[in-house]
Each structure stands twice: as C-alpha cells, then as structure tokens.
C-alpha cells in the first residue's frame, strides 16, 4: 500500500532493517500503516495542520518578517522507543544531570574539580557564561538546573550519544505534550495496540519541582516570558496555564524593600519562584545588560538575598557550553564515582593546537560548531558543504580557534517520515526533559525533532526541522 523507502546502507533506522524487515517494536504499527489508504492518511495530516493552526501552536522565526508565525511541521509516524532502551536512558540522564548540578555548585563554591586538575581554570572562569555574581551563593538544596533538556542522538552503531546538554532555558516540551494530544486525537486506535507511557502529567511534575525550589510556605510561582513576540511564547503561555500560575513579563514585576512583587488588580503580591524563560543577560538591567527592557531592575539583589528563586539559576550556561561538554564524563567520575552510562560524542577542541590541526585537515568530514552557538546557527556540516564553504569556514576557525569545537559527522538514526514522494527515512534526535527538585523526575518521553530535507542532519525548528510524537513503550 505504501512504498517505504529503505534507509541507505550503513544507516541505522528506528523502524527498518537494511533488508526492509520491520523491527519487532514497530511491527504492530507497520501492520496498521499497511491497512490505511494514502488518502486517509493525507486527510489526517491536513486535519493536524488545521488543528495546530487554530490552537495557535506556532513559533516565530527571528528575522523572518513575512512568516511572523509558522507551524513546526508535525509528522504522524511516531518515534517508538522500546522500554529497555528507555530504562537505560533514564538512568543515564539522572546520572548526568546530577553530576552537572554538582559541577555548578562546585564551580561557584570550592572549585574542587579545577583544583583536581580535571578542567583547566580558564575554561571555567574565563567563560562568558560564568557568572562571578554567583560565587559563594547558596541556593536551596544546591540546585542550579531545575529543568534540563538533554539532546540525544543515535549513531549508525545503534548506540545513543549525548549531543548537548541544555541547562539555560530549554524549550520544546509543549510540543512533546501537544504532539501526543494530536496523535491520540487522530489515531486513537493505535493507542489500543501499544502501551505508550503517558506524558500529560509533565506540568504537574514541573510545578512540584518549582515549588520545591523555594523554602517559602506555599510559594507563589510565576512564569517569566519576554512577551508575545518571543519565538517560544506559545510554550510560556501553555506551561503557565497548565500549571495554573501567572504568566508575567518584566513590566509586571517590581522590587520593593528587598522583595519581589507582581502588580495585580488588588495590589502588590509577593513572588517566590520565577520559572524564567529569558536569558541571564536580560534578567536585571542594573546588573547585566542595561538596555534590557525584559527584566526587572534590582532582581539580582533580591535573588542574592535568597528572597526569590530563579529556575534555572543564574550562570548555568557555563555547564552546557560546548567547551565544557567534553568534560562531562569526567565530572560524572569525579563527583559520583561512577562510570558514565550515556556517552559523549567524540569532540575536538580547536583551542588545543593538536585538535585544531586535525580539524583543519579533516574539516570536510566534520561538523564544526561555535562554542556558544545554539539553534543550528553558525555551524558547518562538512560533508554537506561545498569546497568554498569549507575553505571559508577554515578562515573563521583559524581567526578564533577557541570559539570552535568539531565532532565527527554523526550518522543520526532515521525514522520513516511522510514526504512529498511517500514515506522515506529522515534523520532525528531526541530531547527528554529532566526535572531536579526534591528528587529527579521526568516523564517517559521527550521531543523528537526530525530533519525534513533528505540527508539533512540539522533538526532545529529554526532551520526547517519538524517534530514527531515520541512513544516510550511500557514494559
């Protein structure tokens, strides 16, 4: 009924073996797919588009005037993860996020890992994301990253690797939740065939995590957004509504007598916890960027007195920086005395002369990224670039080597995806969300992003990527 394009030899596909045989956990889905007419599925996809548009699940693309709001393309073939894979991933994520929080506490206190010689001091203290204002500050329960999004990929060997950790303001969880709602609405019959772990309780876990972050009785939690023009505004509003807390902008908050208040119709109301969705630099024009209209003057001073909690804490960016990333396995060994469960992607640091030589010599085979870059901007995918582009990028790297790292071009796993010509393999990654509160909690799931262009390895929504529902199977 449907022509399934087979994955290229040597690639790992989530559903298909190179022979075209179906992996066991996809068999029931494949049977179902086989029984559907292409017209029926096309109708369902159109229905999904219409619904997403009506609900307004859109995102704004920076610098794109015409398409001020776009839909992230949604693919109706789910990414299915067997239970045993997830239990390994969950253990690995708990371990990794625990170590990252320990690292943040350490570098803002006794610097043990630096003293032990595991990470060069300048990598930490000269890092633009390191916030000297955080030195010596004690946060409740020692938690810095309350919400972490870890980007995982699967290589052609079938193994999972961590591509990057996101400890600042990771986004995308609303798509995880809305994609599931959509799949259940479009194809309820599939959920009778599969025991898919639920994800809908994520906002409850998030609220518990945020409340636990404060030592106040019955803390007042708010979500701080840059406003309706931010690309992730939908998610900010969505999470505030799902948690039943106020969605505030900087202008709604003010500092008085060393406490933080919000302006309400019945006068000022104390704020205890801010789930902030704006970057450090914009939080407080008195302490950071003076031209920021998004933050609250005086917020840092209230924060340093412990009168308000920021989730995530200020200065977490130093731990998810691409120049620190290569050290995460060492952190796990150092703080937890455990071997890492999840592997890093091998990484060359261009600030090291030997690594730089290797990168310059092999750039056409590598992926080169800016150390502080995000969102798929400022990177080179060697094999997908022209000779001229590679040469041009070499000059940029040589001009400022310490600004770049390089990794082998990973062969991201693929999953059958609806495309113009039918169903074909497209590359994907996976971002689970890890919450650190009284204990570490997470829903069994995550955001699967998919590169919709044939052969493309860039899954970011700002670069034309789409999403899929992620099904973690219950054992």
């Amino acid at each position: 009924m449907h022509a399934l394009t087979l994955p290229a030899p040597g690639h790992f596909d989530e559903m298909l073996l190179a022979s075209g045989a179906i992996r066991p956990h996809y068999q029931a889905f494949a049977n179902w797919l086989h029984a559907q007419t292409p017209e029926h599925l096309a109708k369902k996809r159109a229905e999904a588009d219409l619904l997403f548009h009506k609900v307004g699940i859109t995102f704004a693309v920076y610098g794109d005037e015409a398409g001020a709001e776009r839909l992230i393309p949604f693919d109706t073939v789910p990414r299915i993860v067997p239970a045993e894979d997830w239990s390994m991933l969950e253990a690995g994520l708990r371990q990794r996020v625990t170590a990252l929080n320990r690292f943040l506490w350490d570098i803002y206190h006794g610097h043990e890992i630096v003293k032990a010689g595991l990470i060069p001091a300048e990598q930490v203290f000269a890092n633009a994301q390191y916030q000297p204002a955080m030195q010596g500050l004690d946060l409740p329960h020692g938690i810095y990253a309350h919400i972490t999004g870890v980007d995982l990929i699967r290589h052609s060997d079938g193994g999972y690797y961590v591509l990057e950790d996101n400890l600042r303001v990771p986004s995308g969880v609303s798509y995880m939740l809305e994609n599931r709602k959509m799949m259940m609405r479009l194809f309820p019959e599939l959920f009778a065939r599969y025991a898919v772990a639920p994800v809908a309780h994520y906002p409850t876990l998030l609220l518990n995590t945020l409340r636990h972050a404060s030592t106040a009785d019955n803390p007042n939690v708010v979500v701080l957004t840059p406003g309706p023009f931010n690309s992730a505004y939908f998610e900010h509003a969505f999470l505030a509504q799902q948690m039943g807390v106020e969605l505030v902008e900087g202008q709604d908050l003010f500092v008085k007598d060393e406490f933080l208040y919000m302006r309400t119709t019945v006068g000022p109301k104390r704020v205890d916890v801010i789930y902030r969705r704006i970057d450090d630099a914009f939080l407080d024009p008195l302490a950071f960027r003076a031209d920021s209209m998004l933050g609250v003057p005086g917020l840092l001073s209230v924060y340093k007195q412990g009168h308000v909690i920021l989730a995530n804490a200020i200065g977490t960016g130093v731990a998810d920086d691409k120049s620190i990333y290569p050290y995460v396995p060492d952190m796990i060994r150092f703080y937890l005395k455990e071997e890492p469960i999840l592997h890093n992607v091998p990484t060359w640091q261009c600030r090291k002369p030997a690594d730089l030589d290797h990168v310059l010599a092999h750039m056409a085979e590598l992926v080169v990224k800016e150390v502080h870059g995000a969102g798929g901007y400022g990177m080179l995918v060697g094999p997908a670039s022209t000779q001229a582009e590679v040469e041009d990028f070499k000059l940029r790297v040589q001009a400022n080597p310490s600004n770049y790292i390089a990794q082998p071009t990973l062969c991201l796993s693929s999953c059958p995806t609806f495309v113009e010509s039918g169903i074909a393999p497209r590359h994907l990654d996976l971002r689970p969300f890890v919450l650190t509160g009284r204990e570490i909690s997470m829903v069994a799931g995550g955001l699967t992003r998919v590169a919709l262009k044939q052969g493309s390895l860039v899954v970011n929504s700002s670069q034309g990527g789409g999403t899929k529902d992620t099904w973690i199977l219950e054992s």
């Binding site: 509003a237 969605l247 709604d252 302006r263 119709t265 019945v266 006068g267």
Partner: protein, 322 residues
Amino acid sequence: MLSRTAAQLYWMSRYLERSEDLVRMLDVTHSLSLLPQSRGAMTELAAPLAVTGTLEAYHARHDKLEADKLFNFMALDLENPSSVLSCLKQARENAHAVRGQITAEMWEAINSTWLEGRTLPKRGIPSVSSFFDWVKERSHLFRGATYGTLQRNDAYCFIRLGTFTERADNTARLLDVKSQLIAPAVDTLMPVLAPSDSAPDFYAWSALLRSLSAFEAYHAAYRDSLDGRRVTELLILRPDVPRSLRACCDEIRAILPQIEARPGAADAGREVKQLAGRLALRLEYGAVDEILDAGLHGWLTGFLAESATLGDAIRRAYFEAN
C-alpha cells in the same frame, strides 16, 4: 490577577465589541444610503468617519468621499487604526498576550477570526452585507465561547466590563449621529418627533433599530408604529434591550462588585463603583421627556463624557494600581 492581564482582557473584548459595533454602524449607514429619499448618500456614508473621528485620516488618503473607498477604509484598511480589521487585529493581539487566561475555545474563535480576516483585503469580499454578517457571527461566536467555557472569575468580569463599556459608548454615538441625520431639528423642535408618518423617517428609524438588533424588541415593547421618541426611550432607558444604555450600565454596575477587591477604604475600585452606580441610577429613574426637553444631543454628549470618566476610573483602579 495581574494588572496587565486585566487590562489586556478588558481591551481584547472592547476591541472585539468595537469591531461589531462599527459593522452595525456601517450597516445602518449603508441601508440609509440606499434609500431613494436619502439626504444625499454622502452625508450618510460620512457619518462613520465623523463618529470614529477619522475624517481627516480618510482625506489624507483619498480625495473624494466614495462609497467603495469609504467602505474599504472603514472595514478592511489595516492602515486605519479604527477600521474593523484593525480592531480585530488588536483584539487578537490582546488575546495572544493573555492566552493563558482564556479557554482554548475562546482563543481558537478569536485567532481564526483574525487568520481569516487578514486575508480579506487581498481576497476581496463577495458583498458588504456578507462582511457585516461575518463580523457579527465571529463576535457572537467569541461571546458564546466565553459564556459557555470560561470560569466565572475576574477574567470573566474584565471581559464583560470591556464589552458593556464599549457597547454603551457605541449605542450612544450611533443614536446621536442617526438622530441628527434623521431629524436635524430634534434638539429644538419637539413636534418633529411627534408621530412620525413620513416614509423616510420610518425607514431611517427602522434601519437604526435593526442595526442594533432592536427592531423586534421595539414592536414587542410598544406594539405601535415607529417614532423617534419611543426609539429614543427604547435605546436609552429600556432595561430589557441588550444594547440599550440602561442595560449596559446595569451590567457594569452588577459586574463591579464581583471583581476581587480589598475590603473597605483599601478597595481601589470604590470610585468606579460610585460612578457606575450613579450612571445606572440616572438611567433607571430617567424619563424620555426629560431627555428630549434637555436636548438629545446635549444629553448624549453628557452621557459620553461620564462614560469616558468611568473608563478612566477603571483604568486607574485596576490596571495602574500599585
């Protein structure tokens, strides 16, 4: 509730109500201009420009008053901040900023209205009356979604407050302009308002009533022919006509005590409640002959000033407190 959120909910519904009221006004001027006896169609058509204070803006863009250009300017022109589409756009932008406070149904109603509306200038509309009907339908849909799905909390109160503040304002303006167009002598010559048997007046008053969806109410209330005095009474003093000044002010007065307030003298809304109470009582115990004796235009001007004072007080009490 956050002050900003309250303001945005209030303005969301004011803008939506304004778009509907504007369409009602365009509808009645459109009907009047089609009457053979109309006192020069241009006078009728220019009325909406006068009411919205956009006459100058219109002339900055167009030389002559022409029916097509006027309609485009008032209905579809996004450069005109007072046009129907501009109002829908601002209603939607406010809704976008408070989407956590409104239900999915409300958001979908207002968002899809804008998504469709913004394509109209390019796509064109089949007829002016189909556009009028569309705007009214979308407004009804949003109000219905609000009534049927929103928790009865402060958000609900501020939305309703916006609706009735805007509606009272518009009914008063519409009545003012129409009564002057229909009977320019209304303020000075009472006999003009006496049993009106002339055909043009009949059509003019009925167009006004229809535009305010009050034609049936008139006949149910008076079971008599149309005349200016009774129309005036109906639209100002009847408590059971949803777009009358009395009905709007009764609603405002009833909504205010439901908004969360600090007790006693600390209640920032005290002044608002006093003003609203005074306004509602004046209408409750008012009489149409007193209004006409004083002069309808003068009376309506006074009402609009008080309604503006009330709007100001609402802003100070709820949106700018702290």
